[in-house]
């Protein structure tokens, strides 16, 4: 176990209640149950007030990090979200996306450092929308909120992050999105070198974090590195490097707090398996990749298919079995109304050595 306590030096104020929720652009496609789970956990299990405002928009972070959206534009977009929050009577901004969190932090820091940019943004926002805004009293990522309530969730837990058969803690690889604390180390719990936001949840819920050499390495999304097909080899090489580095520790699952990271660590396992035939988990399978909401949902006893875990590229069943989660295999591909939603073709990443591999191109 690591002699780590430096995270204590990086603490931040997290509001206890009344959150204005900013959604992610891409999460609902890849992990559609996660954001709903967050809302359900906060409202249902923790009894908190959270506004899921349909008026708010993308923060345009992807465009910004791909050098398409200029700084002034993104500042105005951010200002509009803050204005919406104020209009709704909230002042604690929480966002579901790490890149958004990074963007908001960066914009607030820029305004603090260069007040004239804030003034210009106010003008721009007013000219464009007729709105005015106040800066939030607190800004947090939704994983910060989950971290904040980790002990309460642990108290309400239906099961813990342990192997149901042996009682051993599950070995968890936690992956923090780069924009969480690498840009502003003080904006994240535990700072940029040893972020504690996910590790804190894992430890509170009975699991054990794996400290592997490439722990801090980027998942490989890198915006332009993925979005331009010619650069995709670099993107996948990053995930490849991380997976190679973590595999010897035999982690039971990966948990990430960033929309892109969870997606790339999951989907690139599929691509690597198809390209090279390499898989990194047990019995020739991939390593399941969870969002922290899914992890919290499992701990609180949510049904995995309710959490949207059937949408993962790497099958989660081996993990569910290990944790002793009761689930209906037949219900996996049934949608909310019980309608069959279709089934993906078999893939190398989900086949053990004894399975027959079908060529998906057939």
């Amino acid at each position: 176990m690591m002699k780590r306590n430096s995270w204590n030096e990086y603490q931040k104020q997290i509001a206890d209640d009344r959150y204005y929720y900013g959604r992610s652009c891409i999460r609902q496609n890849f992990f559609p149950g996660s954001e709903k789970a967050f809302i359900d956990i906060l409202r249902g299990d923790l009894g908190k007030d959270l506004l899921d405002d349909p008026l708010h928009s993308s923060c345009t972070g992807i465009g910004y990090h791909s050098d398409i959206v200029p700084l002034e534009t993104i500042m105005t977009v951010v200002a509009r979200q803050f204005a919406l929050m104020g209009e709704a009577g909230y002042e604690n901004f929480v966002t579901s996306c790490i890149t958004s969190f990074g963007v908001y932090t960066e914009v607030l820091a820029t305004w603090a450092e260069f007040p004239e940019t804030e003034e210009r943004t106010r003008e721009n926002l007013f000219k464009a929308t007729g709105r005015e805004f106040r800066k939030p009293a607190s800004l947090a990522h939704t994983s910060d909120v989950m971290f904040h309530f980790r002990e309460r969730i642990a108290a309400q837990a239906a099961r813990r992050l342990v192997n149901a058969a042996t009682g051993e803690p599950l070995k968890v690889v936690e992956h923090i999105g780069c924009h969480y604390a690498k840009i502003f180390p003080k904006s994240g719990i535990g700072g940029s070198e040893f972020p504690y936001v996910l590790a804190g949840m894992v430890e509170a819920w009975g699991g054990e974090c794996v400290d592997y050499p490439e722990r801090r390495h980027c998942c490989g999304f890198g915006f332009r590195n993925y979005l331009v097909q010619a650069n995709r080899g670099y993107s996948i090489a990053n995930s490849h490097k991380k997976l190679e580095s973590m595999a010897p520790y035999k982690p039971d699952f990966i948990v990430a707090n960033c929309p892109g990271c969870a997606m790339f660590l999951d989907k690139w396992q599929y691509a690597i398996a198809e390209m090279e035939g390499t898989t990194y988990g047990e019995n020739g399978h991939g390593i399941p990749v969870l969002t922290y909401e899914e992890m919290a949902g499992l701990v609180l006893g949510y049904d995995p298919w309710e959490l949207g875990m059937q949408m993962h590229q790497v099958d989660v069943e081996p993990l569910l079995d290990k944790m002793g989660v009761d689930y209906d295999p037949a219900a996996k591909y049934l949608g909310r109304n019980g309608k069959y939603i279709g089934k993906p073709a078999s893939a190398v990443v989900n086949c053990s050595a004894t399975d027959t591999v079908y060529d998906i191109r057939e």
Binding site: K3, S6, D211, P213, P248
Partner: protein
Amino acid sequence: MKRVIVIGGGVAGMQTALRLADDGCDPLILEKEGELGGKLRDWYVLFPTFTPASEVLAELKGRVIRRGIEVRTSAEVAAFTPHSVTLAGGETLACDAVVVATGFTLFDARIKEEYGYGIYDNVVTSADLERMFAEGRVAKSDGSRPRRIAFLHCVGSRDEKVCQSHCSRVCCITGVKQAMEMKRLFPEADVFNFYMDIRMFGPGYEEMYREAQQRCNIHFVRGRISEASPTIDGRIQIKAEDTLTGRPLKMSVDMLVLLVGMRANDSNARFAAQSGVERSPSGFLAPKSLFLDGVRSTAEGIFYAGTVTAPKSVGECVCEGYAAADAAAEYVKER
């Protein structure tokens, strides 16, 4: 006889007091620790000659005792003016002049947390290593012999990210010296030194550097380590850029030694506020002039010796002791 109080009983302070006695003054050394010696007490051998630090220290302390110089240990100074020094206990001592020889503070390597000091086993500082040499017990935390050792230069030096923009000067040669000592202890081990620049400013240093390279086969890689992480077999993986090839470089090592720099004492700020002396941007106290008045402060009656003004080697500190004492003696006689 004129009383001159020397604050700090390290090499600079001791030599100042000795010279003050020669100059016909009545020196008093105030040392905050329980005994004289300062930082040198924790050092094993000195570059570039591998002379035991204890030898140098014993000689200097012997002279102080033989000369009958008044010393007060465990005496921490709270404040001073040119003519009085107040101890932490509240006692005030009158004097005719003050020589500040309070030295420096070692940079706390935990601040550079990416190197994992205090987090991973087998990440040690140069000061830790000196202690290990002195105790004769250099090994990995599990007692085994290291097969690969990396030294990282400039930890807490020339690093704006930790507000230490200055060069600590002596760490380069310390890194070379310790690498050679490690190679001597573990001839089968590979030793790598990661540096930004190698600054061999003193006599015999460059020659020692060359010997380390050519005779001891110590690898010098120009590039600063970016991070250290644990490996599954309990080693430490380090990453750097090998800037001379323009390629990133990674390797796992059994021991990572951080060559910690010299930081200005926190007390310097207090002294500056109370006594009207000036501080340089690095936090070290600023002499009146870098050229003609290197041991005089900007305030009358306050003098400097040693690393209180900037990082220096042992020999340089001792030389400053002579100069500061003469300047102080001249001042008290004219007064």
